[in-house]
Symmetry: C2
Subunit: 201 residues, 2 copies
Amino acid sequence: MNTTVQTRDPERTRTRLLDAAEALFVDQGFSAVRLSALARSAGVTKSLIHHHFGSKEKLWEAVKDRAFERYFTAQMAMLEEAGEPDAALLRSSVEAYFHFLRDNPGVVRLFAWTHLEGDDTCSELDAKLVGAGAEWVRQAQQRGLLRGDVNPTHVIAVFVMACTQWFEAKPHHQQWPGMGSDEAFLADFLTIFMEGVTPRG
Amino acid sequence: MNTTVQTRDPERTRTRLLDAAEALFVDQGFSAVRLSALARSAGVTKSLIHHHFGSKEKLWEAVKDRAFERYFTAQMAMLEEAGEPDAALLRSSVEAYFHFLRDNPGVVRLFAWTHLEGDDTCSELDAKLVGAGAEWVRQAQQRGLLRGDVNPTHVIAVFVMACTQWFEAKPHHQQWPGMGSDEAFLADFLTIFMEGVTPRG
DNA sequence: GTTTTAACTGGTCGGCCGGTCAATTATTTG
DNA sequence: CAAATAATTGACCGGCCGACCAGTTAAAAC
């Protein structure tokens, strides 16, 4: 147990830097962030950034790695909690995904910056999630609980993309005439989506 | 007709600058673009950028204005070509929108950078399009051609967001396991979407 | 043809950017 | 305890960034 007041705490410094950097990168993107501003925001000197991370680029990688790791872990946990595939569970999975993004706006923006930069290293993590989700849909299709004439990966893609885009450009979309709240949009999306993936009775 | 070889052509210079700037901004976003690189790419001196546009910021605005104007005009033309609202026309509108984005990848990225920057000036243009589209959906609902228990604006939003996100992060999504081509995804999306917005027979 | 306008050039500038380094000192190692 | 390690500091650097400006000249206005 470490109860002594430390005058030096490299782990804490690293975390403070990662936290401050994530906030700035989420807000402004990689190239608009100035290391001087980051140092000020994190309450450390600029040299410490290079001491702990080597360069601005490597810091950016570290921030992305940590954030996407968190995302991946949370999603995997949600997937493993899910039980037998059926339509009701698909609905609640979409709801859970939507609410996760609502509660983690940073990761949505981080994904967006990353994609625009052409960095698709995170697709490897995503591939596992999407693969597992698609397999889940496939099982439901074979049991006749979801319509079988659509690519399971596309089923996942449709709701992931709709949710992602909703939060990625939320300030923009909310100025559209007639646009409702988060929950109102989710409800209508679910109405359309679930009706679309359910087999005709 | 102007057939003389001009040693000066301000209009042409402006256009060359706007074209080159759009290409760079689309690719790298605002802050990563260097005016020196732009000048080189456009084949003009750096001073001319300031002469014609005043500052990097104002040039960025000019690029966005021109691109969004083109987008707006093209979309308005598509809307006005549309005839009486019904389900078949909604389907072909979604197809047309999807193919427009496929053929204009630049505008998708420009929208994305713009939204991430928190600039929502383009929502004013968008508002007209969305308003017209939603009104169109509302009419179809009243005639019983589309299900009436969903917000018309949300119907527009769902397909716009799905199409936008598909192209915005295309290199990323295409690495997902089982993901199909543009057309395969569009077909499955339409299957789900149209089934979802069509009233139960 | 003369004047006015403005397109265009080359040189320059202050500032800040990411990055480096030597020196200091708290912590760990042995 | 001494020695090695590494966290931290502040001063510093070359380079480039966006911007500016005085001067030149083609084109437009009259």
